[in-house]
C-alpha cells in the first residue's frame, strides 16, 4: 500500500498519464495503483473527475481488483458527471453476462446503485434474468436490486411485474436469497401506501425454518417479517412462539430483540392469560443479560424497550429489582432510564430496597441524577400510599443537606404530595418556609407560589412572601404570572382584609398592563367573579381539586400497542409511533383474527377511578403533557404546539365553571408541573 504522502503528491494529470501509456493487460497493476491514488485523492477532497474517460476504458479489464476500483470510482462520480457515466452502462451490461458470478453480482449492484435513469432502466431486464441465476449470491443481489429500483421509480416497478417476481423469490431454495428477498419486499411495503403485507402460515413456516440456515443479519430480517403473520386458530401462536424461543439466546443483540418482539407480538393471539404471562416472563432473562453488556448504547435501547414492555406486564421484574441499580460509571442517560424503571416497578413489598437506592443516588455528584432521584422519591410517596411517610422522611432528610438543586426539586414534589394528600403534611409547609431563599428556578418558584396560595392560612407571612414575588411580576415568565395571579386570588378569598391591596394591584396589572391575552383574560374572569358574587367565587376557586393519581400507565393502550409492535426500532427509543417521526410511515396494529385477544380494560384497577369524569379529563390532560415532553426531547421541530394551546385555551375560556374548569382556575396546567417528566 502506498503511503499517504504519496497520495497527496499525485495530481489528476499525473494519474492520467498512467492510463494513456498503453492498453495491454500487463498494465493492470499500474492502473490499479493509479486508481487507488485517485480514490484516496477524492477522499481528501481533490477533484479527480478528469480521469473519468480513462476509468471507463479500464472497465473492460478482466482483472477483478481493477474492475472493482473502476466501479467504485463510477459510483462516487456518477452523479457529478452523468453524461460521462452513461457511457459506462454498455460496459456494465457486458459484465452482467460474465462467467464469473462475482462480476455478475458486482455489475448488477453497480447498475442499481446509481440514481441515473439510464442506469436503472438498463437494470430492469438483467434483474429478471439474474433472479434465476445459478449462483445464490447473484440472486440475492438481484432481489435487493428490485427494492433499489422501487426507491427510484415506484410506478415503473409496479407496472413491470418485478414485485411479483420478488414474491416468488420467497420460495427460493437458498435461505439467503429468501431472507434478502424478504428484506427487499418489506422495504417496498414500508415505503409505499398501496401495499398491505400479510404472510400465510405456509410462508411463515418456511421463514421460521430458514432461521437456522441464515446469517445473523438475515435472521434479523426474518424476525422483522414474522409480525406480519396473523395466527388464525387456537394454539397457532403458541406453536410459533415456541419455535422462535431458541433465538432469545442468540449472541447478536438485534437477533435476540427480534425474537422478543415476535414472541410478545404473538401473545396477542393467545387465549390463556397464564400462557401469555409465561411468555412475557420468558423474555425477561435475555433482556437482563443484554442489560449487562458493556455497551451503553445497547443498555439504553434495552431500557427504553423494557419501559414499554412493563406497560403490558408490570410484574415482569417484581422480584429482580437489583438489575436496575445504577453502576457508578453508567452514563447519565442509562442511569436516568434505570430510575424510571425502578419507580415503575416499585411497590409496597420492594420499597425497603428501592428507597435507600434513591436516597443514595440523591447524594451523587451528577446533578441530573440527584434531581431525578428526588423527583422519584416524591413520586413514590404518591404512588405507594402505605409507605408515604418513609418517602417524605427521606425528602426532609435530603432537604436538610441544604444543597440548592435538591431543595428546588424537593419543593416541586412536595407541592404534588400536598395535592395528593390534602389536609395532611401541613408540617411540611414550615420546612419550605425555611428554604425559600434557595428557590430561583421557575418550576420551584411556581410550586412554592402555589403552596403559598393553597395554604395561606398555615403560613403567617404568606402575603408578605407573595408581595416579594410580585415585585418582579412583569419580568416573570407567563407560567409564573398565571400561578401568582391564582395564588393572590386564593389568599384574598382566605384573608380578604389583609390581601385587599395586593389583589387590587394584581388584577389591575393583569387587565390593564400586560399584553398576554391568556393572562389578561384570566384576570378579567377573576375580577368579574369577585365583583359579581364573592361567595360563589370562593366555592369555585377554593373547591377541592381532583385527586392526583399516578396508577395509570405512561401511555394509552393504543399507543402501547403501537410501541409493542415496534420493539427494538427507533420508535421504541423515542417512545413514539413511527408515523410521528417518519413521513408516510404506516400505523401498525394487531390484525383481527378469531383468536385475537380482547384488550381488557377492566383488569386495570385504576379504571375504577376513571369512571369519574373529572379523573378522565385530568388523565387526558396528563397524557398530552407527557407526550409533549417526550416529543420535545427527540424531535423538537416536528412539535406543533397549536393543538395543545387550543385545548388549554378552550378549557380556560369555557363559559361554565364546573369542576373541570376549577382545575385550570385553581392551578395552571403546564407540562412542567407534572411528575415524571
Amino acid at each position: 500500500m502506498s503511503s499517504s504522502s504519496s497520495h497527496f503528491s499525485s495530481t489528476a494529470a499525473d494519474l492520467l498519464a498512467v492510463f494513456s501509456s498503453d492498453n495491454k493487460d500487463k498494465s493492470a497493476n499500474k492502473r490499479i495503483s493509479a486508481l487507488k491514488k485517485a480514490i484516496a485523492g477524492i477522499s481528501y477532497g481533490y477533484d479527480m473527475s478528469s480521469l473519468f474517460p480513462s476509468v471507463i476504458s479500464s472497465m473492460e479489464s478482466n482483472n477483478l481488483e481493477l474492475k472493482k476500483l473502476c466501479y467504485l470510482y463510477l459510483k462516487i462520480y456518477a452523479s457529478v458527471k452523468p453524461t460521462e457515466a452513461k457511457r459506462a452502462v454498455k460496459l456494465i451490461l457486458n459484465d452482467i453476462y460474465s462467467s464469473n458470478p462475482m462480476i455478475r453480482s458486482l455489475a448488477l449492484r453497480t447498475l442499481t446503485s446509481v440514481n441515473i435513469k439510464n442506469f436503472w432502466v438498463a437494470a430492469m431486464d438483467p434483474i429478471v434474468r439474474l433472479l434465476d441465476d445459478t449462483d445464490p449470491y447473484v440472486r440475492k443481489t438481484a432481489a435487493i436490486g428490485i427494492a433499489k429500483l422501487y426507491s427510484y421509480d415506484k410506478k415503473m416497478v409496479e407496472s413491470s411485474g418485478l414485485i411479483d417476481h420478488l414474491k416468488e423469490m420467497l420460495s427460493d431454495e437458498s435461505s439467503v436469497v429468501v431472507a434478502n428477498s424478504l428484506a427487499a419486499l418489506m422495504n417496498i411495503v414500508n415505503s409505499s401506501t398501496g401495499f398491505k403485507l400479510t404472510f400465510s402460515r405456509e410462508i411463515s413456516n418456511k421463514l421460521v425454518k430458514s432461521l437456522t440456515d441464515c446469517s445473523e443479519w438475515l435472521q434479523v430480517a426474518i424476525l422483522d417479517a414474522l409480525i406480519f403473520y396473523v395466527p388464525q386458530k387456537p394454539g397457532e401462536a403458541e406453536s410459533f412462539a415456541e419455535r422462535i424461543s431458541p433465538w432469545l439466546q442468540h449472541g447478536n443483540a438485534a437477533v435476540c430483540m427480534g425474537a422478543v418482539k415476535v414472541i410478545l407480538y404473538l401473545t396477542n393471539y393467545m387465549k390463556d392469560d397464564n400462557r401469555v404471562k409465561e411468555y412475557f416472563m420468558k423474555t425477561q432473562p435475555p433482556l437482563v443479560t443484554l442489560l449487562a453488556r458493556k455497551s451503553s448504547a445497547t443498555q439504553y435501547v434495552i431500557l427504553r424497550n423494557i419501559q414499554i414492555i412493563l406497560e403490558q406486564c408490570p410484574e415482569m421484574f417484581a422480584n429482580d429489582i437489583h438489575f436496575f441499580y445504577c453502576n457508578f460509571d453508567d452514563p447519565i442517560y442509562v442511569k436516568l432510564e434505570k430510575l424510571d424503571i425502578l419507580t415503575k416497578i416499585a411497590d409496597i413489598h420492594n420499597l425497603d430496597q428501592i428507597l435507600p437506592e434513591f436516597v443514595e443516588y440523591a447524594s451523587e455528584i451528577d446533578v441530573e441524577l440527584v434531581r431525578k432521584s428526588v423527583k422519584c422519591i416524591g413520586y413514590l410517596a404518591i404512588k405507594i400510599e402505605e409507605r408515604k411517610n418513609d418517602c417524605i422522611d427521606s425528602l426532609i432528610e435530603l432537604m436538610n443537606t441544604k444543597v440548592t438543586y435538591v431543595i428546588q426539586e424537593a419543593v416541586i414534589v412536595i407541592r404534588d404530595i400536598l395535592r395528593k394528600y390534602p389536609g395532611s403534611y401541613k408540617s411540611l409547609v414550615p420546612i419550605l418556609y425555611e428554604n425559600l431563599d434557595s428557590l430561583d428556578e421557575p418550576d420551584a418558584k411556581s410550586a412554592v407560589i402555589w403552596i403559598l396560595g393553597q395554604y395561606a392560612e398555615e403560613i403567617e407571612d404568606s402575603i408578605t412572601l407573595l408581595n416579594d414575588y410580585l415585585k418582579g411580576f412583569f419580568d416573570e415568565p407567563l407560567e409564573i404570572q398565571l400561578t401568582l395571579l391564582t395564588a393572590v386570588i386564593k389568599v384574598f378569598l382566605k384573608k380578604p382584609t389583609a390581601a385587599a391591596d395586593m389583589v387590587t394591584n394584581v388584577l389591575q396589572w393583569c387587565t390593564d398592563e400586560v399584553n398576554d391575552p391568556d393572562l389578561r383574560d384570566r384576570g378579567i374572569i377573576y375580577s368579574r367573579m369577585l365583583s359579581a358574587n364573592p361567595e360563589l367565587a370562593k366555592k369555585v376557586i377554593l373547591a377541592n381539586m381532583p385527586p392526583v393519581n399516578v396508577g395509570t400507565g405512561m401511555y394509552d393502550p393504543d399507543t402501547t400497542e403501537q410501541l409493542m409492535l415496534n420493539i427494538s426500532t427507533l420508535s421504541s427509543i423515542y417512545h413514539k409511533p413511527p408515523n410521528r417521526f417518519v413521513k408516510g410511515a404506516q400505523v401498525a396494529y394487531c390484525e383481527p383474527s378469531p383468536v385475537l385477544r380482547l384488550r381488557t380494560r377492566d383488569s386495570n384497577p385504576s379504571n375504577t377511578d376513571s369512571r369519574e369524569s373529572n379523573h378522565k379529563k385530568y388523565n387526558h390532560f396528563h397524557q398530552k403533557s407527557q407526550t409533549r415532553r417526550v416529543m420535545e426531547q427527540y424531535d423538537r421541530n416536528s412539535w406543533n404546539p397549536s393543538p395543545f394551546s387550543d385545548e388549554s385555551n378552550s378549557n380556560t375560556f369555557s363559559g361554565k365553571f364546573d369542576s373541570a374548569d376549577q382545575e385550570n382556575l385553581g392551578m395552571p396546567m403546564t407540562p412542567e408541573t407534572h411528575l415524571m417528566d
Binding site: 445473523e216 433465538w247 439466546q249 448504547a297 445497547t298 447519565i332 426500532t569
Partner: protein, 426 residues
C-alpha cells in the same frame, strides 16, 4: 436499515462515507455534531439515537471517531447499533486499531468493505474471515475468476471450506467477570457473575464440536444422579454457530466453529457472591489541614488461589496535596486526575489481609465538599487465574471431522476478574 454510513472525526468532519440509498442529502451530516451539542446543552446529556427534521442519527463513539448511520425510516435501532459495533470490529481486524489515521491510510480498502458489508442499507456480512476471501485490497491471493465464497450464501456463513492446519488444536478460556456493589457495612447490594467461554480454534475442514458443562438443567433433564458440583445459569447467549434449537431442546451445545478466535457463549448468574476482595476504608479529617486514611484489604477466596495485579482505587478530595503512604504490601500512587489514590498489589493470596495508611494535605475543608466526596465508591480491579466463582467446569469438548478424521487436543483455562462494576460504597 441505514440510508448512509459515515466515519467522522471528533470535530464532525467526514473522513469517509457511503451513501446506500440516495434518499438523504449528504449535507445533513454536518448537522450531527451541532445537534448532539444542542441536545447535550438542553438536556444535560446525549443519547445514542437522535432525530431531527425527519432524519435519524444513530452512532457509536470509538477512540477519535464517530461511526454514524443515517436513516429516514423507523429502523431497527438495535440492529444498527450492533452493526456499527461489528463494523468497527471489522476495521480493527484489518487495521489493528480504529482511528482517523488508520481510515485515512486505507481509504480504498474501507470503501470496498463498506460496499460488501452492506447493500442498499441492509447488513450483509460482518465476518472478517469470510470478507478476506474476496476483498481485493491487501489480498494477493484472490484469483481473477474466483467465485463468491460459499460461506456467503451457505447455511454456515461464518466458516470457509478448505481450511487446513498441520496441528489441530482448540483452546478454551472460561472468563468470569464479577459485578458487585456493596455497602460500607458489608451488605451486598448487587452481585452478578457474567461468564464467557472464548475459543481459539485451529481446526481443519468442517469440524463438529460438542461442549459439555456441569449444567444443572442438563443433568436434571437427563435424570442423572448429580455427582459433584453443578451450576445453574439464569441465561445463556451463543455465537450464531451454535445450534440454538438443539440447545433449547436438550441443552446440547453443538456447533461448527468459525476459524480462529471467537466468543462461543456468555452466561449470567445472580448468585449471592461474597466479595472476593473486601476493602474497609476509614478517613479522618484533622482540623482543616490534612486528611488521614486507614485502609484494610482482605482476600476472601481460597488460600490456594492468588489474585494478580490488584488495584484498589480509593477516592480522595479533589484539592488534596502532599500525599504520603505507608503499606505492608504493594505500592500506592496518587492519581490526581482521578482524585484518587491507587493501591497496586501485584500478588494477593487468598485469605491474606493487607494494610495501608495514607495522609494528604488539605488547603481548605468545607463539610459540604467532604460530603460530596464521600459518595464516590472504592473500586477494585483484579484477576484470579485457575478459579471460577460459579464453579462452572468444562467436562468435555468432543471434536469430530467426518472426512479428515484427525485427533485434536482441547486446552482449558479459567480466570475470574472484576466486572465493569466492582465497587464498595463509602
Amino acid at each position: 436499515m441505514a440510508s448512509a454510513i459515515f466515519v467522522l472525526n471528533l470535530k464532525g468532519k467526514v473522513i469517509i462515507s457511503r451513501d446506500y440509498r440516495a434518499d438523504i442529502p449528504m449535507s445533513v451530516v454536518e448537522k450531527f455534531l451541532p445537534l448532539k451539542s444542542e441536545v447535550e446543552e438542553e438536556q444535560g446529556f446525549s443519547t445514542p439515537c437522535l432525530t431531527h427534521e425527519g432524519i435519524n442519527y444513530i452512532y457509536i463513539h470509538h477512540n477519535d471517531v464517530y461511526l454514524l448511520a443515517l436513516s429516514k425510516m423507523n429502523s431497527d435501532a438495535m440492529e444498527m447499533l450492533v452493526f456499527l459495533r461489528k463494523m468497527a470490529d471489522v476495521f480493527i481486524d484489518y487495521f489493528k486499531e480504529l482511528q482517523e489515521e488508520s481510515i485515512r491510510d486505507n481509504f480504498v480498502l474501507v470503501y470496498e468493505l463498506l460496499d460488501e458489508i452492506m447493500d442498499f442499507g441492509f447488513p450483509q456480512t460482518t465476518e472478517t474471515k469470510i470478507l478476506q476471501e474476496y476483498i481485493t485490497q491487501t489480498s494477493n491471493t484472490v484469483k481473477k475468476h474466483a467465485p463468491p465464497p460459499i460461506a456467503m450464501t451457505n447455511a454456515i456463513s461464518w466458516r470457509s471450506e478448505g481450511i487446513h492446519y498441520r496441528k489441530n488444536e482448540v483452546f478454551l478460556d472460561v472468563i468470569e467477570s464479577v459485578n458487585l456493589i456493596a455497602a460500607a457495612d458489608g451488605t451486598v447490594i448487587q452481585s452478578e457473575i457474567l461468564g464467557k467461554v472464548r475459543l481459539k480454534c485451529y481446526l481443519s475442514g468442517m469440524p463438529e464440536l460438542r461442549l459439555g458443562l456441569n449444567d444443572k438443567v442438563l443433568f436434571e433433564a437427563a435424570g442423572r444422579t448429580i455427582k459433584g458440583n453443578t451450576v445453574e445459569m439464569e441465561d445463556v447467549k451463543f455465537h450464531q454457530c451454535v445450534r440454538l434449537a438443539r440447545f433449547e431442546n436438550d441443552r446440547t451445545i453443538s456447533f461448527i466453529p468459525p476459524d480462529g478466535e471467537f466468543d462461543l457463549m456468555s452466561y449470567r448468574m445472580s448468585s449471592n457472591v461474597r466479595p472476593l476482595i473486601w476493602v474497609e476504608c476509614e478517613s479522618i479529617v484533622h482540623s482543616g489541614s490534612r486528611i488521614e486514611f486507614m485502609v484494610k484489604a482482605k482476600a476472601q477466596f481460597k488460600k490456594r488461589c492468588i489474585a494478580n495485579n490488584v488495584q484498589i482505587i480509593i477516592p480522595v478530595p479533589e484539592d488534596a496535596d502532599s500525599p504520603r503512604f505507608q503499606t505492608s504490601n504493594g505500592h500506592v500512587q496518587y492519581a490526581p486526575e482521578q482524585a484518587a489514590m491507587v493501591w497496586n498489589i501485584k500478588k494477593f493470596a487468598g485469605g491474606k489481609e493487607f494494610f495501608m495508611r495514607a495522609e494528604m494535605g488539605l488547603p481548605s475543608v468545607k463539610n459540604e465538599d467532604i460530603q460530596v466526596q464521600k459518595k464516590r465508591p472504592v473500586q477494585l480491579k483484579f484477576a484470579i487465574p485457575y478459579f471460577t466463582t460459579s464453579g462452572i467446569q468444562v467436562r468435555y469438548l468432543k471434536i469430530t471431522e467426518p472426512k479428515l478424521n484427525y485427533h485434536a487436543m482441547p486446552w482449558v483455562r479459567y480466570v475470574t476478574q472484576n466486572g465493569t462494576e466492582y465497587s464498595i460504597r463509602q
